[in-house]
């Protein structure tokens, strides 16, 4: 006689996250994108413009890393929709929100790895970091930015049908964030997540500051951006994929 199992939400979440993570690291092009795009700018600043300029722009380059997750996350969900695996998964007793959460979780793991690698790389290439810089904040600021990337990625994923269109359209979010936020130039707009993050990151890395109005407040604003975008993203994504 058949058995009926009682699945646990936490186990489902864990196994799905592992699955997402495996699928991601087994695709060379995704690895190149996650680490390669920010690396290009590290090399460009270090060897193109020289160490002095590199010192100034290094904080922005680290923030750039989690921004590429927008295309990563949108591509991941678009692939699940396009290939039918999302539909297949929900014929099993797993809820749509668990699947969604697992997608976000695996990207956050990637973000953490990516940020640590970027910090090590800029050190390796000789950036001088203020000796008083708070190491936790150097990690935490870009990590908070990763949440806004997940929000943007979800919003994008709810509109696109294929992974390749997600990859292409992501540029229309990544580039404005990158340039308006002044990650690699002077900032043009002050209130978007990237400019807030670049400002805070610069204060911590270059000046060794932990001033509330430069760091704490910015982190709070980025977090508000992140929460808002993720909530909007989840609402849109749930609605757009409700009818499969």
């Amino acid at each position: 006689m058949e058995q009926i199992f009682e699945p646990k939400f936490t186990n489902q979440l864990w196994y799905l996250t592992v699955k997402n993570f495996k699928s991601m690291i087994r695709e060379i092009s995704q690895l190149v994108w996650i680490f390669g795009y920010p690396l290009v700018f590290i090399l460009l600043f270090r060897f193109g413009y020289g160490l002095e300029t590199f010192n100034i722009f290094a904080p922005g380059v680290v923030i750039l890393a989690p921004i590429v997750l927008i295309s990563q996350l949108a591509g991941h969900f678009a692939e699940e929709k396009e290939s039918g695996t999302l539909q297949r998964l929900i014929t099993t007793p797993v809820s749509r929100s668990t699947v969604l959460l697992s997608g976000l979780f695996s990207q956050l793991i990637v973000a953490a790895i990516q940020i640590i690698v970027m910090l090590l790389l800029i050190l390796l290439f000789g950036v001088s970091i203020n000796p008083n810089a708070n190491i936790f904040l150097l990690f935490f600021i870009p990590f908070i930015v990763a949440f806004t990337s997940l929000g943007f990625g979800l919003i994008l994923a709810s509109f696109v049908r294929t992974a390749s269109s997600a990859g292409g359209l992501a540029w229309f979010i990544i580039l404005p964030l990158q340039f308006l936020g002044g990650l690699l130039t002077v900032p043009l707009v002050g209130f978007i997540p990237t400019s807030l993050a670049a400002e805070a990151m610069g204060a911590v890395m270059i000046n060794g500051s932990i001033a509330f109005d430069l760091v704490g407040l910015n982190i709070i604003f980025i977090a508000i951006w992140g929460i808002g975008l993720i909530v909007l993203g989840i609402l849109l994504f749930q609605r757009k994929t409700a009818i499969l």
């Binding site: 199992f5 699945p7 087994r26 297949r88 998964l89 014929t91 099993t92 499969l244």
Partner: protein, 315 residues
Amino acid sequence: MIILDLAIETNNLKKYFGVIHAVDGIDLQIPKGSLFGVLGPNGAGKTTTIKMLSTILPPTSGDASVLGFDIKKDVLEIKKRIGVCPQELVLYPRLNARENIHLIAQMHGMSKKDYKERTDDLLGKMNLLDRSKELVKNYSGGMKRRINVLMAVIHEPELLFFDEPTAGLDPQSRRVVWDFIRDFQEKDSTIILTTHSMEEADDLSDELIIIDHGKIITQGTPDELKGKLGEGDILEFKVKEIEQRNEIIERATKLDFVQWGKSVGKHRIVLNALDGLRRVSEIMDVIKVKMEDISVRKNTLEDVFIDLTGRRLRD
């Protein structure tokens, strides 16, 4: 009162996509433990029906209960008890065969020990053990198709939906999958199998429906359905004089051993004739036109479909 133990019961189930009436009022009663075939041409509404019964597509109207649970209200209870093999190949390309199968088991909450053992057992039955550690994206279409089936059955569900499980398989692999499906039937699972292969429907199902344009056009056991067509052989041929098809059929059916005739597609005529093989020349004398490309065969479910719709299952 007789209470049948039903696996599935539907009541005027409908799904409209705008103007397309994909499923247009289906009433079904499928007893537990049976292998139930759903035969129909492309676009008949087979997949849409399965999606509604497996709770991933809400119906436009009507109700259905699956294993005693309502498809709108008791979604989770149904999902715990079913396995679905989708028509398309739906696998994670960058996971290997084992990982793909394990994932479904994990979603159902099976214990690690159970699903590992069972996965190996299943892979063995499908002759896939030796390559089970390779990423699925490197598999051939037929291998993917077999994994697609295994992902539906790993948790030994009470009710299984197979949506064209053998599409694109070579005859040998098709046999493997057929035997595999029969195994499940012997274990008392209820199986819903869609196909547009009349052979498959005939070979496997205890009972079947034929659907067309979202409606059930006939229902019964394969023998009952073929029996309705009469005892005769099926004689199929082409004629040049297509405008005269109706007259030709009329003339032929005047012969007492010809039970019925139909035109199929643009050029072909199908007759049901007792002892058809030996009487071809008699028929030829009567219809007075040249028959080309003649074939004589036993009744098949395809002919049931032709009889009811004047079309073939596959054009």
